[in-house]
Symmetry: C2
């Protein structure tokens, strides 16, 4: 297949997607070319359009096509609460619960010293400015309950707690619908400590 | 994220890739937008270019940008041998062995009655015309050793054996480097029958 340069270029480009190796990229390329050329065109257009149109919201830093995203502009939301999440996917999970009506700040990452991601890389400065706008009274730390997420939450609370803001963290505990026998011990220990 | 239409469109488009669900598509979209916008542009261009430029070789049916692929045009190859494979990936595997110097016919699929893929869908007519061009003397059936691959090989050999062509199938047997203890019984049985 020495003359298949367009094919080779496509396979190499697909490999830039996270979690896609040579075999998957080959399978994707063959599938699109053999069975779904309209899909290839659609994906091509969606990629170009997204890369060109999508930027970060000026206020909450999430992906948006506007200067300020629809969530931040929504006046029915409680501007005194600011929920800090790692990614738009996390924000979307919180939104789907319907249990939160405040605003968000999306870090677009987490502190990860081992990968060289420091406070500057995830825009903590921008978060601090946003949290100290005078309207925000409570900052809810909803970073993940992983080592990096916990470290990120810790650094943020260290930075903010001297400024008179009410800082909270999502509750840790036993997941809904689970049986104690199968829950990991760390979770049970936390649920005991945080019992109410 | 109600205003994130370009993002939603990108996620939906990524889901058309085989093996990519909602979560993977979201992760891919976020990765490209957050960490690899040049990658998104590259992939966009590669997709559009491939979908536009790549067609099927007139002679062997593989993907190529030309009318006839480089392999078919290579005069040093033995035109009396025609190796039938399911996909360009299979062809590429055979090529990498360096053990075959004949020509190929790429089915771009396999017979699969359960999925509604019949002889017409994988271009058997085209294969028969190609095999009966007068130059081809041996047809090597190198479809996969799966149920569908075997059925495909069977149908091809039924269609061609009355026409005076020498029909062969890749040898079945114990893989190089394997220990009998760990080889499946079907393979050992075939290796016994086909012993030489």
């Amino acid at each position: 297949m020495s003359d298949a340069n367009a094919l080779e270029a496509l396979i190499q480009a697909l490999r830039r997607l996270p979690g896609v190796g040579v075999k998957s990229a080959q399978r994707m390329a063959f599938h699109l070319l053999q069975h779904d050329r309209p899909g290839a065109q659609t994906l091509s257009y969606a990629l170009a359009n997204a890369a060109q149109a999508i930027q970060h919201c000026e206020r909450c830093h999430t992906f948006t096509e506007a200067t300020v995203c629809a969530t931040c502009l929504d006046e029915r939301r409680d501007a005194s609460k600011l929920c800090v999440v790692e990614t738009p996917a996390d924000q979307s999970a919180l939104e789907r619960t319907g249990a939160y009506k405040g605003l968000y700040f999306v870090l677009m990452g987490k502190l990860s010293p081992l990968d060289g991601v420091g406070p500057h890389d995830i825009g903590l400065k921008k978060l601090f400015d946003r949290a100290l706008d005078g309207t925000v009274q409570e900052v809810i730390l909803a970073t993940n309950f992983t080592a990096e997420g916990e470290a990120t939450a810790h650094v943020i609370s260290e930075g903010l707690k001297a400024r008179g803001l009410h800082l909270t963290r999502l509750a840790r505990g036993v997941p809904v619908g689970s049986e104690l026998e199968y829950v990991d011990l760390g979770t049970i220990a936390h649920a005991l400590v945080d019992r109410r």
